[in-house]
Amino acid sequence: MDLTGLSASALAKGYRAKEFSALEVARAHLRSIEQKNPELNAYLEVFDDVEQSAKQADDAIAKGGAHALAGVPIAVKDNILIEGKRVSAASRMLENYVAAYDATAIARLKAAGVVFFGRTNMDEFAMGSSTEHSAYGPARNPHDTSRVPGGSSGGSAAAVAAQLSTVALGSETCGSIRQPASLCGLVGLKPTYGAVSRSGLIAMGSSLDQIGAFGRNVTDVESVFNVIKGHDPLDGTTLPDTGEQVVSGRKIGVPRAFVKDANPDVQQEFERLLEELAAKGYEITDIEFPSAPFGLAAYYIVMPAEVSTNLARLDGMRYGLHRERDTLLEEYMHSRAEGFGAETRRRIILGTYVLSSGYYDSYYRRATALRDVLSKDLAKAFAEVSFIATPTTPGPAFKLGEKSDPVSMYLEDIFAAPANLTGIPAISVPKGNVVRDGKTLPVGIQFMSPKRTEASLFKIARDIMDE
């Protein structure tokens, strides 16, 4: 039996039926990692205590009462803190940084007894849509290694798609879970802003950042989400625990004017999936979402503004890369210039520009106003429909080096932006395929729903996946 292909729920069953142990499952994954990771570059580091924590999980399961995720392999994006482990955000700046505490999501997963396999490759500080901006070389897409796995959580997606882990944690600021899920053929969830604590997540855009999960099926993603979610005194933006919320109907709204930005064959796949949903009893209806096409432009104001602010703390003094110079100012300037890669520097400069005196009104203020307009458009839409569907990405995985122009890379996240800017949850489901250069490549369909209704997203995702 190929233990690396099993779902988290199949592992849980197998452990309890004594068909195999967590240690055997861990070893099977370690063997796959040894074979495939050199080419995929999905993991930046595989932890040296994997077997030890698998044994602990086996003990806990034998005792009885262990969590359903006990002994399940999980890969963690390199911007989420695990105490005592290095965490670099795939940057030279934090190459040797060791986490002093556990992120809340990690602490909760530890309590459940999951087995942390390692830290995964990503675009530096989560800035990018291909992992080509990693300081440690790009990750590659298991479906076609000449193509990118997406980003910024591309290493996590590649690891799960190549069966180098059962599930993985990623983070989103704008599409960084859903886009790689779409490009690698996985389920990826961006939770409601505030559903999962950001404590211990290296900050990029604080009003947008959210930790979420990847899996090869819906139930695995739901299981991870149910462990990591919930109020946390260490993150004042986490939402109070008010219990599960669901949408009432089965009506799906499609913003046609927005969707036309996708490749023609991606649109065809999207239409085919809508027909499948209609056959399963969902009602498909056109909706207006006039502000949606402007979301990404607003994102490229809000995010750099927050990036330039958040990354100001990285000055080479208290931790991180330090360059010795004659004066303190020169030390700041050279530590930062050498520690940050090109995309990170670009966004810091852009953020400094949009926040400059004289430009604030035309950029940051307008972007903030647009977030309100987006929210109002969504409120209007959700008064009529339960879900909004779009393709997750405009196209399938692209070749390494294909999007060297920054703006063409940014446009990867055109369909992702509304959910991040307004805080609603969204899920990407791997149900479509398109062909490029004779290769069949996955593309996802995205569903959005009102805040805190993740349970409904899992339900519609399961319906379309026949799970």
Binding site: H322, L370, V373
Partner: protein
Amino acid sequence: MIGRDDVKKLADLSRLALTEEEIGKLQDEITSILAYIDTIQKIDLPESPTGSAYLDIENVMREDGEPHEAGAHTDKLLQQLPRREGQHLKVKKILG
């Protein structure tokens, strides 16, 4: 169009030591990114935003108190200092 001197000024404000070549490249890139971002000028927006309907959150307060024992994390954090002297962070002199 953003000027070369503007990029230099922004780099200084951002505490980034850039080469002449990097400044030239950034000038082109920032100009093309701003051209895209400027699509936001085309949509009618309310004069005064209503605030943060999109975030839908409130200020959170907690009682004063010690979140943890004094010194509980000190050693771990001090170990990360690139330059230290005993229990202190060592930096270049800034006053003559």
